[in-house]
Amino acid sequence: MNAEHADLEARFAAPAERDLPPGRHDRHREILMSHMLTRPPVSTTTRHGGSRSRRPPARVLAAVAAAAVAAGAAGYAVTAAKTPAARPPAATRPTTSRTHPGQAAQQAVLAAEVLRAAAAHLAREGVTGEPSPGQWIYYKTVDYGYPGVVDPAGVRTGEEWITFSGSQTAYYQNGQIATHTSPIPPPGPTVKPWEAWNTDATPKTAYDVLASLPTDPQALLKVIADQAAGQNAQNIAAGNPIAGVAPKTEAQREFDYLTLILWNAAIGLGGPPAAEAAAYQAMAALPGITVQQGITDTAGGQAIGVSDDGGYDQLLIDPVSYHVIGIRQLSTGIGPMSASQPIASDRTTPGLRKLLAGLTKAERARLITAAKQQRGPGYPPKGTLIQEIVYAQTVEVPAPGDR
């Protein structure tokens, strides 16, 4: 230690070190061990900046696409693209897969190709202007809920208006348009995109965050990884340390976080095309992503389902415009949760968390009611559509009531 160091230590001595309060060391050790056991080591190659597989020859891709479409036509495609050890321990996940050897790899290749095609398409759209904060957007949703599991069951349509800033929403109440103003003030002009997004998820904050992301996939994923890590920390801080160490791979957390941003941006007519393209490119670089093509969504349109958990929770993308149009959840065959589990915690399924985070108050209340119902023994078989929300229409309008 030199004199400078010693002088500072003498003048600014900190309090003596203390042990953790009694029992806390063991408690935190236990949490850490549990966390490590549910998220065991994966490949030690660094994904960020790591090498990517070469683009396969076109004829191989055609064969892969045909195989995947066939799998989709048979019902749904569950793959084992992630190692079983990286899955949550039992409870809500199947322990077997209908995937044949080699199919998982094919799915992963197909997912990457579809997402890259989507990215290329969006990148050609060019620059579109960001809507003004006060711009009203009309959106029509079509929901589906499985009878006995989601209440209300069946197909329902809804319509609502929201300003791009998210400050105001409008909806029909007793035949009249009711307007609601958010209690959360919009961020000031000097607030940075991530800070604004972390304060309130709105179409504008989602748009701005997307626009701020790097276009290089690995750099983008690094930013997302940092933000996702922050989310975990917040979960721990919110008083749920077990949920905060939810058994998810790093890739799944990044996919979920990107999905959350894209979903919130979608209600505001999507993010900047180049930014959405970059997000898709980044998703394509993640291990374990699968796609299901040829989906007919609840609104009757065609969709591509992109998933990070083998197809149970899917982000729906329009196969023509490649914009995000919806989300859906398929049955694991076991049941997603029990009534005793906290609805807003990480103990719910990833798909439900995505739903809750991206929904309006009314939509959220509806889903929470459904989710709190105790699941009976007659839970729908694996692969059955449980719930779905599709944006059937989103359009800028002058005022609430216009379509």
Binding site: L8, A14, L20, A229, A237, A238, G239, G244
Partner: protein
């Protein structure tokens, strides 16, 4: 005595959970106290400590194959996490309360008084060191309060050794005229609010035992 974590570096990097458990045993206390010195809040420090090891596990691939103790690396993670801690202070207090209930942990009332004294003292120090930038404070906390060498602090913060030196040097220059008397006066002027202590006798002992001395 050699730091036991030096021998665990390879196993920790490879994802050996037992090795990580041993690293936790060896370093949790140090990380906890470092986090307290940065946040001035024992509850927040506990959260930072817990998050540090979860983050360390997540980013274990970043452990270099060769090197010494893992403590600098862990203190670096804790430093980063502590930066965002004040914003979430209220949530963390709630978290600790819930954790205590859920874990059915014993009370530590006997320890409370001393911990409150620590809070008052560290707040006085933060007040006195208010002229430092955050990076300067972090270097001071690592080198002076946690006893890291310059190279270790550089490893912790991911900055060149020369930068550690210059930051510490700048810190000392800025604090050059600050005397013990001024420190005492600063501590008396601490604002009081809900849950905050009035600086009292504990603050008078500003020349008390340093963390480094206590470990010896």
């Amino acid at each position: 005595m050699d730091d036991p974590t030096s021998q665990l570096r390879g196993r920790a990097r490879a994802g050996d959970t037992d090795a990580f458990g041993a690293v936790f045993d060896a370093c949790a206390r140090s990380v906890y106290n470092h986090a307290f010195r940065l946040t001035g809040d024992w509850s927040a420090a506990e959260e930072v400590m817990a998050m540090t090891f979860l983050e360390a596990w997540r980013s274990r691939e970043r452990i270099a194959e060769d090197g010494g103790s893992l403590r600098p690396w862990l203190l670096g993670i804790a430093t980063n996490l502590a930066r965002g801690q004040r914003r979430a202070a209220r949530r963390q207090r709630n978290a600790l309360a819930r954790l205590a209930v859920a874990g059915d942990l014993p009370d530590f009332a006997d320890d409370v008084s001393g911990r409150l004294d620590d809070v008052a003292r560290i707040k006085a120090l933060h007040q006195a060191l208010g002229g430092l930038t955050r990076p300067e404070l972090e270097v001071l906390a690592l080198c002076v309060w946690s006893g890291l060498g310059y190279a270790e602090a550089a490893e912790a913060l991911g900055i060149p050794v020369g930068t550690v030196r210059s930051r510490l040097s700048r810190a000392r220059a800025k604090l050059g005229k600050l005397t013990e008397r001024e420190l005492r006066r600063t501590s008396r002027e601490l604002p009081t609010g809900p849950g905050q202590l009035v600086a009292g006798p504990a603050i008078a002992g500003l020349s008390g035992t340093s963390s480094k001395e206590a470990r010896r």
